[in-house]
């Protein structure tokens, strides 16, 4: 495996943090930065740059590839040489971003600059100069790299000796369970499960979903003392398909009786991810029959003429008891679009972003069974505008899951206390409506 290093570029394409690239020539990181900015210059949208760029190198013997992902205006480049899995590099980049988020809260050029000492320590601990990712679980990392906190800053300003505090754990990695810190103590023992499901669908002109997927995950926040051994059972585990689990889950137990047996990590983690298919995917070719019903109805009508177009969209909530939150509807109006003039009835507000040429309609709250509409027109400097062929709607529904996944029981063994347990459901929806 050969992840050669990591470079963080700010939004102007300048490197702000990079690993030391011990075993390569000093030009090596530079040609990768160059390769990325060249590729960026060739595409109209920054997200269209191929995720793995081939880098020819200075001479013929130094060919490599550059994997990159974006995050909050930053670009993280990962030069790789040798025939390795690009997914390995990409997965590492994502993990590193997660770690930064955990440590800094908000990842941006300025937070990186402010905490560069922490970022460098994290880089040293997570990526070996030989290209092997080392410690990436934040549970273990917190033992060896102290997160920047107000307290630390105050103490250092006050000139106090914080070295004694820094030695947070005199015996790191002594825990027999790699993902869990040893000797965790909480005053109140709590564990929360957030079941978050996301419906992604494409709805055709006739109102029938063409593709329809529900992806779920169980987001867990664990604040339990000691080494609890948990057993989680569901009343309707049949609805879960294509599951993938946090490494803490004992897989044989799951395949035997669909129960999750695990010793949880400390803090936030994703316990499992799954796909929900209503017919338990008995026969996927009949997908049209067993589909998750789409919770809203969008009736779009778009008319395009010589110098612009008119739009009339009506959105009706099909939910009878719950409200829809954070509703947004977007449409790219095509090259040369301008002079938008729209009216909303029933609530919300619209805006037009002249940079991305996108019309956006937002509603914070949409009561059950309510109906709303957006009407208006725009003009285009280009004759016969070609707007996007689909509206994109996004919204959230609280206290609701498509799969109706229900936790039956949570048993804790190995510890004496009785933890407080909380379960919450939430749904996100992301639908494309063709017109």
């Amino acid at each position: 495996m050969a992840i050669d290093g990591l470079i963080v570029l700010d939004n102007a394409g300048r490197p702000i943090v990079q690993t030391s690239f011990q075993s390569t020539s000093p030009a090596y990181p530079l040609i990768h930065i160059d390769a990325y900015s060249n590729a960026l210059a060739k595409v109209s949208r920054p997200e269209d740059v191929d995720p793995v760029l081939y880098v020819a190198g200075i001479d013929d013997t130094k060919r490599s590839a550059c994997c990159h992902v974006g995050c909050g205006g930053l670009r993280l480049l990962c030069p790789v040489s040798g025939d390795i899995d690009p997914l390995f590099a990409l997965a590492f980049l994502r993990t590193f971003i997660d770690i930064l988020q955990e440590y800094l809260g908000h990842v941006s050029a300025s937070t990186l600059r402010d905490n560069f000492d922490v970022v460098y320590q994290l880089l040293e601990e997570t990526l070996d100069s030989g290209g092997h990712p080392l410690t990436t679980s934040t549970n273990a990392l917190r033992d060896i790299v102290i997160p920047p906190s107000l307290l630390n800053k105050l103490l250092s300003v006050a000139g106090a000796n914080i070295s004694s505090l820094s030695a947070a754990s005199s015996n790191p990695f002594a825990s027999p369970i790699p993902w869990r810190k040893a000797n965790v103590r909480y005053n109140s023992n709590e564990i929360y499960f957030d079941v978050v499901e996301e419906l992604r669908a494409v709805v055709g002109r006739n109102g029938v979903s063409l593709s329809n997927d529900v992806l779920g995950k169980v987001d867990t926040n664990c604040k339990l003392s000691g080494t609890p051994d948990m057993l989680l059972t569901f009343t309707n585990s049949k609805v879960l398909t294509d599951c993938s689990f946090h490494p803490c889950v004992r897989l044989p137990r799951w395949s035997r009786d669909k129960a999750l047996s695990f010793v949880p990590p400390d803090g936030h983690f994703i316990l499992m991810e799954y796909r929900y298919s209503p017919s338990s995917s008995a026969n996927p070719s009949t997908l049209g029959v067993h589909q998750v019903p789409v919770p809203v109805m969008v009736k779009p009508s778009v008319v395009i003429n010589e110098s612009g177009g008119t739009i009339d969209v009506t959105v009706t909530s099909r939910l009878t008891t719950r409200a829809i939150e954070d509703f947004s509807l977007e449409l790219y109006l095509g090259q040369g679009a301008g002079a938008p003039n729209f009216m909303v009835s029933g609530g919300g507000s619209w805006a037009f972003d002249p940079r991305s040429l996108t019309l956006r309609w937002e509603m914070a709250n949409m009561p059950a069974s309510s109906s709303h509409s957006l009407r208006g027109s725009w003009s285009s400097s280009v004759p016969h505008p070609r707007p996007a062929r689909a509206f994109r709607t996004k919204f959230a529904i609280q206290q609701h899951t498509f799969s109706a996944l229900k936790i039956d029981q949570l048993r804790v063994s190995g510890e004496q206390y009785k933890p407080y347990k909380g379960v919450r459901g939430r749904s996100l929806v992301d639908i494309e409506w063709r017109w």
Partner: protein
Amino acid sequence: MSFRAGPRKGENYELSQDLNSEYRDKRKDAIKRVIASMTVGKDVSGLFPDVLKNMQTEDLEQKKLVYLYLMNYAKTQPELVILAVNTFVKDSDDPNPLVRALAIRTMGMLRAEKIIDYVSDPLQKCLRDDNPYVRKTAALCVAKLYDLKPELVLENGFLEQLHDMISDSNPMVVANTVAALSDIHETLTSQPGYSPDDPALFSVTTNILNKLLIALNECSEWGRVGILGALARYKTDDEKEREHICERVIPQFQHVNGAVVLAAVKVIMIHMRGIRREDLLKQFIRKMAPPLVTLLSSPPEVQWVALRNINLLLQKRSDLLQNEMRVFFCKYNDPLYVKVEKLDIMVRLASDNNVDALLSELKEYASEVDVDFVRKSIKAIGQTAIKIDSAAERCVNVLLDLIGTRVSYVVQEAMVVIKDIFRKYPATYEGIIPTLCANLDELDEPEAKAALIWIIGEYASRIDNADELLSMFVDTFTEESYPVQLQTLTAVVKLFLKKPDVSQGLVQQILNTATKDCDSPDVRDRAYIYWRLLSSDPAAAKGVVLAQRPPISLSRTTVSPALLDELLSEIGTLASVYHKPAETFIGRGRVGADSVQRKGQDLVDDRSDTQKALQTVAAGQQSENLLDFDDVPASDSQPSGLAATTIIPQTPAAANLLAGTSANPLDDLVSIFGGGGGMTDTPSAPQNPLGGLSFGGDNGFGSPITSAPPSQLGASSVASPIQTQKPQDDLLGLF
């Protein structure tokens, strides 16, 4: 210690003052500022002695920062690093395991010759440390040491220690040990002329295998990828053992990290080869599908890698994901690179059952905003038509609808695609020709024009005003691009052969123009050949120009079978993403002690296997080229074409041709005719020059040799970019 007499003011001077301050926090702050300057590219190497003084500290964070500074300047100032050695050695005995690990890790990273000799003793201790964190850090250090000075590793018995550490109780130590051994293995195998008995080769034995399988379930995701990589290299002839490995690896499909999933897929694909039980194979394939589909809900860059690998897997195992076409439907907001891959896979999965859904999707895509994507969607419609006979008519209707939109690039692309459909289904869709001709004025791209002209020429006898249409192109002949000129020339000759009475003048005019006023040698030479054929033997001309063409089909694979197998054993690597063997694009990316570049190969003969596979690829491509030339004669079911191609390399002129050294192509052409004529057992006259001609037409006139195998004719003329398509089109157009 040599102090440089620096300037008495400025930033560096102030830093130096602060680094020597009597206050601890002031010194620490100064170190941070030094690192900050260093990272923005300022030269702070002058502060080396000052920073070094701060190395011995209780504060772990400060120590880390000083180490960071050392690592950065070790390369440029190795003589100064030697000053730090004592502290390193001392730190590797520190009661705090973090300090011990930090010291050993930094020493490994420094890559300075001078410091290496001091590493052995501390490393020896750290490999036996009580703390697993120190042990796993030390394991990786061995690999780095080997990279710099292999003999040191061998002398100190570090290799044996590593082998012992595979049995370590801590799975993370096992994982790092495997990573270190694999690194050493790769370093060794990337050097030419290593001995197959070298102890540094990491061959997985049955004993090691079991330990790896145990550690696999307990270590971190990165460790798992490394262990799976080692499992993929494990060689066994025992079918039961292979089954056992597969069964133990399959649970890894449920890992959240895509890299682990792909590494597991790779192991299964490799060990499946030795398994003969059909039911097991089916079961493995069935279990492989869901995790691959799950990867498609990841961020776009992960999707892309997954899609490229799925594309490859589908070429070997078309039954994988049979019923899952809907998950590949493109979302409006997908980045272009994801959409393009999805299109390709959708066509691959197309079958009678899902073709309707596919076509309505493709039609939808063809009306989107992005021009590149629209073109690719229209191409996909053509590919579907060629792949599924029963759906061809529906495809043609969709294409006609699209032509009806009158969007210029849509019409042009549809035209090109329809030409291929005409080739696949001759004399089936003549009814749409008038619609096509009605759009003549909208065409401005050479490829689209050439396509329409080809259709007009091919169906000249059924188009009443074919001569009028073609004469429009003849009038503007010299202004057109070469592909259009070539097609016009051929179409007019076809027209003449089919309707001699109306086009006598036209053919005269074009032959005149093409031979006298045209500056492309390809066009001139083709015109000469036609002229000669027409004037000497019209019957032969008919036989040549109106010969039946071989049918085209959509190939199931885009790479040759030998290469496919090689790539499949590299699933989840750059090779599988680029669909090319690693050797063709990966060089030696590092300097210094020339560490690992190649993907690890197990044994010497393993390497030669790869070599062999590559040779097969190369040889396959050569023979495919030759076969290409056979196409036309072979379709006449005469052996002459083959005979002609075999004799050609024997004539010196042809050898020149192949070597590309010939100065005068016409001479060569003549000598080829001569060579061909010299063949005693050629059955009939017209076919013999035919073989020679096609050869000459392809090589002598400087067009590149096509590398597509004949079975790919359809695929390449539909899917591949214009450049590779041209020679074939020329070749076919000629006849």
